[in-house]
Amino acid sequence: MEWQAIWLSLRLSFWTTLILLALGLPAAHWLTYSPRRWKFLAEALVALPLVLPPTVLGFYILVAIGPHSPAGRLYATLTGGMLPFSFQGLLVASVIYSLPFAVQPFAASFAAVDRRLIEASWCLGISRPATFFRVIVPLSIPGIVTGMILSFAHTLGEFGVVLMVGGNLPGVTRTVSIAIYDDAQALDYTAAWHTSLLLLGISFAVLAATYGLRRKAWAVWPAYGQ
């Protein structure tokens, strides 16, 4: 069993989800509530990873974080390391690749919060940021949980972007999907079979947990709980 690859994939998914939570909530807030006319462009940009081939996305990310790019040079001066073919580089790519899976459910649940509740909070003297955390977020828990779980599951299964940006360094960038690809290429079907089954199991468990949690989260509303 490819334990090293599995552990790496889980770590990558965990950190990706955490970063997407931190970036996705403000991004979704802006997309939902900004009065700017051109925000549809930002929406399209966020959704781009949904339709772009992973190799194309991976290629651009590779170029963008390469040692000759501004981002790559900045990273090198700050840490002395390089982003491509490193875990950190993989993390950057995963965050971008899974962005729509976090931001879209977040934004959809924000948009479903009754505007009058938000205005009621403002009129009670509560600032906009405090209203966000005291009214919008609690009422959006199901959407936020969905977005986080989708990001986690999506990162767990990514292949093309990882291969482009991370390559195949055991313990550093060799994720579980790449391990399965390797095993199959080497005609080691038993190993590929085991690892695939484990990934299938984890994916199903994660999704089952999402739907289970979502039901529990809705139960705070008495109309649904009784």
Partner: protein, 358 residues
């Protein structure tokens, strides 16, 4: 100097009528101003502009010494700083918080426990809004607004979300609550009885414009023009022509009929063409030929065109050459055996006819 809220704004929603309103509300204790008018007259827009939720296109909103909105300087104070308690039509309680935490939501200090008790919510404190009745929701919303210590309450159709019997009972409760909390209020409604029961003064809005303002009874009794008369529910509004005027009285002609009415307070504003406004409850019906001597100036021969039951009353539409609506009790209608097609005499006092400009 008594402080007052001074509003003079204009606003146009995309595709809607231009809304223009100028009103002054004294910020004394328990003063209730009713903003009254048909649906779509712009009442809610004015309320939202005062709350800071909508930004007017032009004008000024001043509360005491504070400028809340000024189009010329671009000042627009956010709703958080205005300290206004705003109750929307559906109360907008937070569904994820208990009654206690809803009420405490905007409270500056620790939970004002006596507020829950005062609003009869102590034993509901741990329930969620989804478990409450309409009347309880209203009390929670009012308590929540007051816990934030507002200096002005804005109530948008506070009773419209309730069903009819409850609405009747809560009207009285609401009046008592508003009197007890000592916070001035502006209340939007399109219901006449609500306006009469709850308001100290009234401002009538029609088609986006403020048409008349003053003490409730005086506006209801003496509408300034035909539109206001219609809005406040005057049943008969007929075009009339002035024939003669003398000694504070005037004679007007409506179709073939002639009526004597009391002249306007300011006779100069009336021309020959006017409207005569007559409330149905001031019209009496006599049987033809009974020839009682009464103090009423106007006795009009009429034919009963229509009789409609309205609860304990009967609405009788009379044809005296123009349509005149009378309201009589069921008993009177039975005793007099009023039937459609009968010939009767309509009796109207001169003081019951309000003449307004056309």
């Amino acid at each position: 100097m008594a402080s007052e809220l001074n509003v003079d704004i204009r606003k146009r929603h995309a595709g809607g009528p231009q809304i223009a309103a100028a009103l002054r509300v004294p910020l004394g204790a328990h003063f209730v101003m009713v903003l009254f008018g048909p649906s779509g007259a712009g009442k809610t827009t004015v309320l939202r502009a005062i709350a800071g939720l909508d930004r007017p296109d032009a004008g000024i909103i001043r509360c005491g010494d504070e400028i809340w909105y000024d189009a010329t300087t671009g000042v627009h104070m956010p709703p958080q700083k205005r300290r206004v308690g705003y109750l929307s039509q559906d109360y907008a309680l937070f569904p994820h918080l208990t009654v206690r935490r809803n009420v405490a939501y905007g409270a500056p200090a620790a939970m004002p426990g006596d507020l829950l008790a005062r609003f009869g919510l102590a034993n509901l404190a741990d329930r969620y809004p989804g478990q409450l009745s309409g009347g309880q929701l209203q009390r929670v919303a009012l308590a929540r607004a007051l816990a934030a210590e507002p200096r002005l309450l804005l109530l948008d159709e506070p009773l419209s979300a309730l069903d009819a019997p409850l609405r009747l009972r809560l009207r009285t409760d609401l009046r008592q609550l508003l009197e007890s909390v000592e916070v001035p209020a502006i209340l939007v409604t399109h219901d006449r009885t609500e306006a009469l029961a709850l308001g100290d003064s009234i401002a009538i809005m029609i088609g986006g414009r403020l048409r008349q303002a003053g003490p409730v009874e005086s506006v209801f009794d003496s509408p300034a023009d035909a539109d206001v008369a219609e809005a406040v529910g005057v049943e008969t509004i007929s075009p009339a022509r002035v024939i003669s005027r003398s000694a504070g009285l005037m004679t007007v002609e409506i179709g073939p009929a002639r009526l004597v009415a009391v002249d306007a307070d300011d006779p100069g504003e009336l021309r020959d063409q006017v409207f005569a406004c007559i409330r149905a409850e001031s019209v009496m019906i006599e049987r033809a030929g009974s020839a009682n001597l009464t103090s009423a100036r106007n006795h009009l021969p009429a034919r009963i065109a229509l009789v409609v039951a309205e609860g304990p009353l009967e609405r009788v539409v009379l044809d005296c050459g123009f349509k005149l609506t009378a309201m009589v009790t069921r008993q009177s209608a039975d005793e007099m055996r009023l039937r459609e097609g009968d010939q009767v005499v309509a009796v109207v006092k001169a003081t019951a006819i309000r003449i307004v400009r056309r």
